[in-house]
């Protein structure tokens, strides 16, 4: 089945809530039925066809084109299929998604992958704040799946994260993994200030050093070679991330915390001076 191409007709300034841009909603629909799906434009309900050109019948593969910076909630709660986005995307992309893939050839705004439970979200540009985080009032953020960001990511990535993997190839903003419950965050660039504040369990891996040191509520444990990281980093290399043999076999300094809470979280800082055996 060929992909359904959805193209923005003209630039927009009002926010668009487009939960219907999802393979779950598109699958099995004819082209005119896809165009009739509802979207919220500002405070008015419109149809998809009012703002977007739709090519092809509904399928589990969607290609989105245009300046989508004001289009929010694309792929929200999706469970299957694939969305390819060519351009920048608005907030809540892939929030609460449970399966499938979203590939973005551009930047994404805040709350991408928020409370995500499964699937793959790959961003070839930068990500805004609250990547994979929990919405206010919620106890758990990301709870499964994988988020890969080729650029930088904003503050509070992985807030209250419960499970899953967030990988940022560039730099990661402040408060990464704040109140993290479990899961893993890997950053190839620098790790921002106050990482892991209030974290109970989980792992934050800093491959490119620290912006501003660690909180005093993290205690130094040891320098060692975590075998599980060999497993993880090899998998990341399989996803095309620039993992070096030195990183796979390298020495990491382990800090545990946050001792203001359970204290079973860890921050692993790659020692770029230590050479592997």
């Amino acid at each position: 089945m060929s992909a359904t191409i959805v193209r923005l007709k003209a630039s927009i300034t009002l926010p668009v809530e487009a939960e219907s841009l999802s393979p779950d909603r598109f699958a099995g629909l004819r082209q005119e039925e896809v165009a009739a799906l509802p979207i919220l434009y500002g405070r008015r309900w419109l149809t998809l066809g009012d703002l977007f050109e739709v090519e092809g019948d509904g399928s589990e593969e969607i290609v989105l084109e245009g300046d989508l910076r004001h289009v929010k909630r694309i792929g929200q709660r999706m469970s299957r299929g694939r969305i390819n986005v060519h351009g920048d995307v608005g907030m809540h992309l892939g929030a609460e998604m449970r399966g499938g893939e979203i590939i973005v050839h551009g930047n994404v705004d805040a709350w991408a992958g928020a409370q995500m439970a499964g699937g793959l979200l790959r961003v070839h540009g930068n990500a805004g704040p609250m990547l994979g985080a929990a919405y206010p009032g919620e106890t758990r953020g990301m709870r499964g799946g994988v988020i890969l960001v080729e650029g930088d990511a904003g503050p509070r990535a992985g807030e209250r994260m419960r499970r899953g993997l967030i990988v940022v190839r560039g730099n990661l903003g402040a408060f990464a993994g704040v109140r993290m419950i479990a899961g893993s965050i890997v950053v190839f660039g620098t790790l921002g200030a106050r990482a892991g504040a209030g974290m109970k369990r989980g792992t934050i891996v800093a491959l490119g050093g620290l912006t501003d040191g660690l909180l005093p509520t993290f205690r130094y444990a040891c320098a060692y070679r975590p075998t599980f990281l060999c497993f993880y980093l090899r998998r990341l290399r399989g996803w095309g991330l620039p993992v070096t043999p030195e990183q796979i076999e390298g020495v990491f300094h382990r800090y545990t915390g946050d001792i203001t809470t359970l204290g079973k979280g860890e921050i692993l800082v790659y020692d770029q001076r230590e050479r592997a055996i």
Partner: protein, 294 residues
């Protein structure tokens, strides 16, 4: 039927249904992976006497292991799922976890599993932690040298145990040389192990004994020293017999291993290739020797 002038007896090997699994043991270098593999598969020659049958399948280069370190794949065979979990817990816990720098992974994609890492984790005394990636859950157990990493679940599948053949030689030297050649050839076959020491058995057994407390005893018909005392199965000129037992993850793998093993064993000084069976009354598989080439 003859191969290189050696008679292939018109008989069959009797093999049994078992459960099998593959473990991948890695370590900082090849030596320590080998040490752990040997410790874990040691004293695992027969299910009755040792609780399981196990052996080293092959060495794995770093690029073939989950963590990119040198590794060894080992196969385990038991008669029940419950026994598999019990044996793996004991053997991985004592043979792999204790060995410096090792990690242990499931090497079999199967529908059925046994819980190993999920139980060994309690050794971590509350400080164990798990990592889950793409549906695979690994446990990190803190140990004095760092961490022991192990898969939570290990895939198991129905397998075949007890494939065998007997090498009847003119002397112990010729029989042993033929058996060594056979084992070397069989080790190239994927999915099989020869669980006895060096892959070779000299104390083949028959069912039953004159002693009530024994269920199996020496295979008198194949003992050359008893030729004048019992009904012997040995042709004239045979003075030594060695057996090779092979277990495999599939019947095809067992058959292939037997075929290449017998071909390698058919050499000067060997008079006949035979096989052990119980008249077809015990095992679920019958592997006729001569059909191996059909």
């Amino acid at each position: 039927m003859r191969i290189n002038g050696v008679e292939i007896e018109d008989t069959f090997a009797e093999a049994f249904k078992m459960w099998g699994t593959r473990l991948i043991i890695t370590a900082i270098n090849r030596q320590w992976a080998q040490t752990a593999a040997q410790a874990t598969t040691g004293f695992a020659t027969s299910g009755i006497g040792c609780g399981c049958e196990a052996g080293i399948e092959r060495e794995l280069p770093p690029e073939e292991t989950p963590d990119g370190r040198p590794g060894i794949s080992v196969l385990f065979f038991v008669t029940s799922r419950k026994q598999m979990e019990k044996q793996l817990l004991l053997r991985v816990g004592q043979g792999v976890m204790t060995c410096p720098t090792t990690a242990c992974y499931s090497g079999l994609s199967a529908e059925e599993h046994v819980d190993v890492g999920g139980k060994l984790r309690y050794f971590g005394d509350g400080f164990q932690s798990s990592k889950r990636l793409e549906g695979r859950r690994l446990w990190r157990i803190p140990v004095m040298e760092g961490e022991f990493l192990i898969d939570e679940r290990f895939g198991i599948q129905k397998a075949v145990g007890g494939g065998n053949f007997l090498i009847l030689g003119k002397s112990v030297e010729t029989a042993l040389a033929a058996a060594e050649a056979a084992v070397a050839a069989m080790r190239e076959v994927e999915g099989v192990v020869m669980p006895f020491p060096g892959g070779i058995v000299r104390s083949g057994s028959k069912v039953g004994s004159r002693y009530k407390f024994l269920t199996a005893s020496t295979n008198t018909a194949y003992c050359p020293t008893l030729r004048g005392q019992v009904e012997s199965a040995l042709p004239e000129g045979v003075n030594a017999v060695l057996e090779i037992v092979v277990n495999g993850l599939t019947e095809d793998a067992v058959r292939e291993a037997m075929r290449v093993g017998i071909e390698a064993a058919c050499r000067s000084g060997i008079m006949r290739i035979s096989a052990g069976n119980y008249g077809g009354t015990l095992g679920q598989y019958q592997i006729p020797l001569r059909e191996l080439w059909q």
